[in-house]
Symmetry: C2
Subunit: 196 residues, 2 copies
């Protein structure tokens, strides 16, 4: 038996370019419309549907690739070294505001993801971003300003669940978009406060 031949470099480069174009087009379309069709995504990416299905056989697979990309972009946007120099409570308010801004921009993508992926799978893509939240809560506990009577992992989950439910509420028209950042800040700080 001879080993299978590697794809020629030119073909591999083509495939990588197509994948990048598909994920980028899907990110663009799904953040506007969670029901954007695979045909529309292929068209916007400048590839045929057969090519798209070759790389992403299911809508789940495509949505997972888009989530991965969106979270990587979000993580870069949240990476503000200035947080480190601020008291934990103030740094937390800034982190809540930035995280909400990013999530708000992606809330239709979240709807698209919710339709095809289990909650636990969507959460998985946020682990990296949530490590940042965990570090800041831990620092606030060390500084004595955040509570220590609840598990750290629970406080991180509560942060995640509260932000995501705010996105769903805005999308459903039950929470005023202009009020969401204030509501989130007040809610999360009430739960985190020491002696609360």
């Amino acid at each position: 038996m001879t080993p299978p031949r590697q794809p020629r470099p030119a073909r591999r480069a083509d495939a990588e370019r197509n994948i990048a174009a598909i994920v980028s087009a899907a990110l663009d379309l799904l953040t506007k419309d969670p029901d954007a069709s695979t045909a529309d995504i292929a068209k916007a990416a400048g590839v045929g549907r057969v090519t798209l299905y070759g790389h992403f056989p299911t809508r789940e697979a495509l949505v997972e690739a888009v989530l991965d990309r969106a979270v990587a972009l979000a993580d870069a946007a949240l990476d503000d070294p200035a947080y480190e120099g601020l008291p934990a409570q103030e740094a937390m308010s800034r982190l809540i505001a930035s995280a909400w801004e990013v999530l708000d921009g992606n809330r239709r993508l979240l709807t698209a993801a919710d339709r095809v992926l289990p909650a636990e799978r969507i959460r998985h893509y946020h682990d990296g971003a949530l490590a940042r939240v965990e570090r800041l809560i831990r620092r606030g506990r060390d500084e004595g300003v955040f509570r220590t009577d609840l598990p750290l992992s629970w406080l991180v989950t509560h942060f995640y669940a509260t932000l995501h439910s705010a996105a769903q509420e805005v999308e459903a028209g039950r929470l005023d978009h202009a009020d969401a950042a204030r509501v989130l800040d007040a809610t999360l700080r009430s739960v985190l406060a020491a002696g609360g």
Copy 2:
């Protein structure tokens, strides 16, 4: 054109008995295993798969019927007139404890629902039960013990999202089952408290 004939009463009674048996069997199996198959549910209900598919053509349809039934049972369990005589804070702690007990018993059903239904659809089935939460929060605001700086609808959503994320955390092994009731009480009361 003659109107279509009504099904004979005996056949209608059979159909109703089958539907009740299927929903009851599905509730029983899905609260133990979110991946319980349609074949297993039909077998436990004592009906053929064709009969099951005749009443519930998709897994979504069956899971929706089970959710509807589970929430009706939960609502009856929560209907404790004694709440009315208690101060709002104490009544809230009792409501949190009862709601968690019911949700905890159904947390695998919730996983099953999450796999096939969008979050907004699952939320829809809880509207009746959440009306009870809303009434109690409103009473606590009237009594001056619950905060009024955040929208009432948001406080209700936060209650719902926090309980459901605790169920997911327990299921994922990230939150200690024995600690969940205490954690929920502390979290929700921190958010509801006036002057928090």
